[in-house]
């Protein structure tokens, strides 16, 4: 069963510049495995070091967020369309927290 995976612009450079790729899969997980098996450089952008899908990578199956379906185990059917949609997040560096307890050292400079 062929699933069409839509590749977002920033990732096309790792997929031979294709904007979509067809893979054989019965679940979302299999589709993503098939995609990253073919284009290995996509892996580090889609999965974290523990092999889980990164928090800012959203996967939509025919316009439905898979988080509200069966997550990665959501079954796929022939001609389904899987979209990879970026969540864009960021922010500034948070300074190290002060120690919660114990002694604190203070330097008084004159």
């Amino acid at each position: 069963m062929a699933v069409k995976v839509l590749i977002p612009t920033p990732l096309r450079q790792y997929a031979d510049k294709h904007d979509s790729v067809e893979v054989e899969a019965k679940t979302v997980a299999e589709a993503l495995e098939g995609l990253t098996a073919r284009y290995g450089d996509l892996r580090r952008h889609l999965y974290n070091d523990e092999g889980k899908i990164r928090s800012f990578v959203n996967i939509y199956l025919n316009d439905e967020d898979i988080r509200y379906l069966g997550k990665e185990q959501t079954p796929t059917n022939d001609k389904d369309v899987l979209s990879i949609v970026p969540s864009i997040a960021g922010g500034l560096t948070i300074e190290a927290a002060a120690p919660a307890s114990g002694f604190s050292l203070r330097c008084i400079c004159s």
């Binding site: 800012f56 949609v85 970026p86 969540s87 864009i88 997040a89 960021g90 922010g91 500034l92 927290a97």
Partner: protein
């Protein structure tokens, strides 16, 4: 690659950053590739989803809720992302990057910025000091996700080149 935008675009971004201070602002840069340059033709300010903590938590949960808020985090709702991108595509435009502000911090990407960044896109950061927009700098994530590369920003009428590597 470099990022080209009109001075009016930069002013829109700076005013947005000042209006949202002390919270972070965010938005999308729409345009097209012109050879090796990303040419911005529109700036789309987007509400920071961190101002809606319940919804934001469904998208990307905070790692340290006691210390993270809209003052040091921004998030673009994927629904907004899809809506703006679809609308842009219908007009022959593409998303070439994003902007956000760093209130009372320099226009340099943080580790959190890097962990959440996508390759290829331009990430324009505006530093806002005590409510006034100051420096801005654009960054592109390197292929290995290890760091950002500063990107040349060309603003109509004046050019700025940064060669320093981080």
């Amino acid at each position: 690659m470099s990022l080209r935008l009109q001075s009016g675009h930069l002013e829109t971004i700076q005013r947005h950053a000042e209006a949202e201070y002390p919270a972070e602002c965010c938005g999308m840069l729409l345009g097209a590739m012109e050879g090796d340059s990303k040419e911005v033709t529109e700036v789309a300010p987007i509400p920071n989803l961190r101002l809606d903590p319940a919804r934001a938590e469904q998208v990307i949960p905070l790692q340290d809720p006691g210390r993270e808020s809209e003052r040091n985090r921004f998030l673009i709702d994927p629904k907004e992302q899809i809506r703006v991108e679809k609308d842009a595509r219908a007009r022959g435009l593409t998303v070439v990057g994003y902007y956000h502000s760093h209130p009372d911090h320099p226009a340099k990407p943080s580790a959190y910025d890097r962990e959440h960044a996508w390759p290829w896109y331009s990430y324009l950061i505006v530093s806002v000091q005590e409510g006034s927009a100051r420096d801005s700098q654009s960054w592109v994530l390197k292929d290995d996700r290890g760091s950002f590369q500063p990107e040349t920003v060309e603003v109509l009428g004046r050019a700025r080149t940064v060669n320093a590597e981080r």
